[in-house]
Symmetry: C2
Subunit: 213 residues, 2 copies
DNA sequence: GACAATCTCAAACGTTTGTTTAATATCAAT
DNA sequence: ATTGATATTAAACAAACGTTTGAGATTGTC
């Protein structure tokens, strides 16, 4: 009698085992035998529960995206009457937390970032929709912060600066990033708040300097 | 009699064909048969000239790195007596040009960026060395711009903001980035200058706001 | 032209891969 | 207890892969 690795169902164990391995070694370098071993399942389990390896991949990505979208709806604060700087701060913070949520296993964030380089066709639409909405929201906030005298080109440049600053922390924690481990900032709640404040203030100063010309 | 695809040597043609395909589909998804077909060579050519597929990979990466390091030595301007803002501008500009050099085929930049996610062991040392030198240089410039009253933590936050802003443009042009093609800014010389100036000014304002607290 | 070194070629080899098969086990409902 | 749907298993399959082989072509040198 063999010991069960966890009390979850086989398909759940497969999704989580696959997620860890995909994040670790990439989709192409992970074999279904690896996955099934890690999940304590038979080699045929992937095909029985998901059809094939590709569909398991889709299931893993959906599993992550669904969780993140409900927990961190980036647009949530836009309806309130907070000042635009406060709203911008919320968006920056959620953007970082989507990758570094301490309550979520790290492989989920890693896998999502990897999709920046090689997006899965099934995810393209979901990501693009969300992206378009977020980009529009940030553009509006930038205009509100800057006042009226800022042209669209300048708005887009500022948009790039905001997103870029967030991307830095996301990328520097990619598992194979060429950065010595000891130089990586630990992304706990305290540091995330600190970084969020920095990005916000840095950005506010940058935007203001933009319309004083 | 079969037509030669180019007048370059077989090993050169293999490196360039492999580079294009690796950038397009990734190392694992590219077969040596694909490479040899594209290079107009026999399947055995990879093994004859490089030993195996992995060593060809290394050869491709070396081929790119050597070219970039000699053409864009990021530290080159640090010795001069230009004002620190000017030096920072040069570093930003070179950082962007390393990826977007209009005189260099695009796959070279793409392949290098992909290494951010899954660094090849043979490249880790080269990249880390360069990175450490560049990071030190930028830190010094930030301190010079800020004056004396800025602590090390603040310097590192500003460093992240600078690198992040550059990364944004590099990442948004990854071949599979979830960004509609029509929204990508064309990275020609004119726009690179424009973006460089923006990042510089945005950063200068950000740094100054940092030491007025 | 003869020789040796270098290179190219079609064919085949041994593994690894994702997938399928058919038999067996599990379990709820009647 | 029997039945039928669902799930798991060991074994095998076919295709694709990186690599090797041995024979032939090409090239440079004397």
């Amino acid at each position: 009698m063999t010991e069960k690795i966890s009390d979850k169902s086989t398909s759940e164990r497969l999704i989580e085992a696959a997620g860890v391995l995909f994040a670790q070694k990439g989709f192409a370098n992970t074999t279904v035998r690896d996955i099934c071993d890690a999940a304590g399942a038979n080699v045929a389990a992937v095909n029985y529960h998901f059809g094939d390896k590709e569909k398991l991949h889709e299931a893993v990505l959906n599993y992550i995206v669904e969780g993140i979208k409900t927990k961190f709806p980036v647009n949530v604060s836009l309806g309130s009457d907070d000042p635009p700087g406060e709203k911008l701060r919320n968006m920056i913070r959620f953007f970082l937390l989507r990758r570094f949520d301490p309550d979520r296993p790290d492989w989920q964030g890693i896998l999502l970032i990897e999709q920046f380089m090689t997006v899965h066709p099934k995810l393209v639409d979901v990501i693009r929709e969300e992206r378009a909405a977020n980009v529009d929201a940030i553009r509006i906030l930038i205009k509100q912060i800057a006042g009226k005298d800022i042209d669209d080109e300048a708005v887009d440049l500022c948009l790039g600066s905001i997103v870029g600053q967030c991307l830095f922390y996301i990328l520097m924690h990619a598992p194979h990033a060429p950065i010595p481990e000891e130089e990586k900032i630990e992304m706990n709640h305290e540091n995330i708040e600190k970084i969020t404040d920095h990005i916000l203030n840095f950005t506010l100063a940058g935007i203001k300097s933009k319309c004083e010309k």
